[in-house]
């Protein structure tokens, strides 16, 4: 099922024309209404007249999360505050939150893209959608809520937490769709298995999960344990919230709602636009947003774009599941290495825990990388040959994922520090040389 065939199935040429028209209008608006962008563009010697279509995107300045912080709270808004009807904020791990504002039209756009998202997941007006994302300043809850309402489904706005109650409501109210973070979905799945409920008495068949990175292994686990189809959705509050892109039921990449959010893939170091299919950081230009229109917003999320048509009939470009973040990138022997890739590989292996430490050093003028990994307690380490095999397998898998050579050191269980927030996973000794 497709919510808006006009935009989701238009030819690539038509899409380009639509994006170009909207971009020209947006650049005009930000140039005249946002001093920050006017100044940036003037510094670069670019005026609105220089932008005739999406091919001119590389002429425009990037926007970073730091720019939003520097202009906290409303500095980048492009309309008078009387036009803003909703404000959301994302909690920053450091310092000030990132504040985003929506006009009435922005909220309509958001409902539209979330309606497309849910429809792509197979949700219809006959479904009961249990929204277990948090409601409040976080965009997850209300985003899913408004999209589900727009398609006419029955919304159960339970918000996050209280697992026992989630199960009771899911059972008694006959929820067919669950919207929450993947880790909470897994938690609910385990709670259901341990509970006295019988899975056969539930009507749940689909889940739309996002707001945090998750692996294919985790998807399989959720699908098996909850006996549902688990759909990956992507979004960030700076762009709109959930609804920037979503998988269809083919589960082969996330369709970007690019008539609203024009994506580009850039090299996070050189900032050059990369060719189709290349891995890099995804940036979005929000061509229809009124409240907080952003030019080339750097998400720091790493992925690639696939413009080939999808079996579902949509022509919208598909982005791969994000494989990491560019902010923690290391450059080793000239190769970009992302610690999150290490975590992804470890999560796919059964014998190791996803805890690791990367040590980079320089020996004989050569960068060397050592990876410390914890063996799981259950690992049969009494056999040294098994340990050796495991070390070799980690080394081979890592080297093919990261494209550099490295050494692997197994360490005792639970000796690498756990941390709630961002843990120190990288020790770069080159910096002290």
């Amino acid at each position: 099922m497709i919510w808006n065939e006009t935009f989701e199935c238009m030819s690539r040429e038509e899409m380009r024309r639509c994006q170009s028209r909207r971009l020209v209008d947006m650049v005009e608006r930000v140039y005249h209404n946002v001093p920050f962008y006017r100044k940036k563009m003037q510094e670069m010697g670019v005026g609105p007249e220089d932008v005739r279509g999406v091919e001119d995107l590389p002429k425009l300045p990037f926007t970073t999360k730091q720019d939003l912080r520097d202009n906290y709270p409303y500095g980048l808004f492009a309309v008078p505050m009387s036009e803003i009807v909703r404000v959301h904020a994302s909690s920053g791990t450091t310092g000030k939150p990132t504040v985003v504002g929506y006009t009435r039209k922005d909220l309509a756009t958001w409902s539209e893209v979330m309606a497309r998202t849910l429809t792509a997941a197979g949700v219809t007006r006959h479904d009961f959608v249990q929204v277990a994302y948090g409601y409040g300043l976080f965009t997850g809850g209300l985003g899913a809520h408004c999209g589900a309402e727009k398609i006419g489904a029955s919304v159960i706005p339970i918000s996050g937490g209280n697992t026992r109650r989630q199960l009771q409501i899911m059972h008694d109210f006959g929820s067919t769709t669950l919207a929450c973070t993947p880790s909470y979905a897994l938690h609910l799945a385990e709670a259901l298995i341990e509970s006295d409920y019988n899975r056969d008495e539930f009507k749940l068949k689909t889940g739309t999960f996002g707001a945090e990175p998750w692996t294919e292994n985790m998807r399989r686990e959720i699908e098996e344990k909850l006996r549902i189809k688990a759909i990956d959705i992507f979004g960030l509050s700076e762009i709109i919230g959930p609804g920037v892109s979503s998988e269809c039921t083919c589960q082969s990449g996330l369709h970007v709602f690019e008539d609203h959010f024009v994506p580009e893939i850039i090299d996070p170091v050189t900032l050059e636009v990369l060719p189709e299919g290349a891995d890099g950081e995804i940036v979005f230009t929000t061509v229809t947003k009124e409240g907080l229109p952003l030019l080339r917003y750097r998400t720091r999320d790493l992925t690639s774009l696939d413009y080939s048509p999808c079996r579902c009939g949509r022509t919208l470009v598909r982005m791969k599941k994000c494989f990491g973040r560019s902010d923690d990138m290391l450059i080793i022997r000239g190769v970009n290495v992302f610690p999150s890739q290490v975590e992804t590989v470890l999560l796919e292996m059964q014998e190791t825990s996803p805890h690791y430490i990367i040590t980079v050093d320089r020996k004989n003028n050569l960068d060397v990388l050592e990876l410390q990994v914890e063996v799981k307690e259950e690992f049969p380490f009494d056999r040294i040959s098994e340990l050796q095999k495991l070390t070799d397998r980690i080394k081979r898998t890592m080297e093919s994922a990261l494209q550099i050579s490295l050494s692997v050191k197994l360490v005792e269980t639970k000796t690498i520090a756990r941390s709630e927030g961002k843990a120190v996973r990288v020790i770069d000794k080159r910096k002290t040389l």
């Binding site: 063996v375 307690e377 690992f379 049969p380 380490f381 009494d382 056999r383 040294i384 040959s385 340990l387 050796q388 050191k409 197994l410 360490v411 005792e412 269980t413 639970k414 000796t415």
Partner: protein
């Protein structure tokens, strides 16, 4: 009839072995035998103790990576050539042995071995009338 051997994964860090021994000693667990197989990066400590289950729980709760492994213990006379006799019997039957170690007790010696195929090992041992040491025997050493 196998006996339980305690295997502990240790990084090559100074003081780590002492910590294991202190945990066991503090709980009154007596060590019958101790060996370490080491590589450049880590070592595997293998222990036969008076109460393997208790020692295993203790080490885990103290943050060590420990396993319980089933091994075969044989009692042979403490005489030149007696261990060779056992090993020859097993290798003649193509039984693959992953590792073995031995220690002596007065006029007896105990040989400990780990194999992939314990049931085949016991057949050979029974045919040759070697003496198997039980979990209870170990406790009383």
């Amino acid at each position: 009839m196998t006996i339980k051997q305690l295997s502990v994964f240790l990084e090559n860090k100074s003081g780590r072995l002492t910590e294991v021994l202190e945990v066991l000693g503090g709980a009154g667990i007596n060590i019958t035998s101790l060996t370490i197989a080491d590589t450049s990066e880590y070592g595997i400590l293998r222990l036969i103790v008076s109460d393997a289950e208790k020692a295993f729980r203790l080490l885990k709760s103290n943050g060590f990576s420990a396993n319980l492994t089933e091994v075969i213990a044989l009692s042979v006379s403490h005489q030149a050539g007696s261990l060779a006799k056992v090993m020859k019997a097993l290798s003649d039957e193509q039984l693959s042995i992953e590792y073995t170690y031995a220690f002596c007790l007065g006029d007896k010696a105990i040989a400990v071995l780990r194999t992939d195929n314990p049931s085949r090992a016991f057949e050979i041992i029974a045919n040759r009338r070697f003496t198997v040491v039980s979990e209870n025997d170990v406790r009383n050493i």
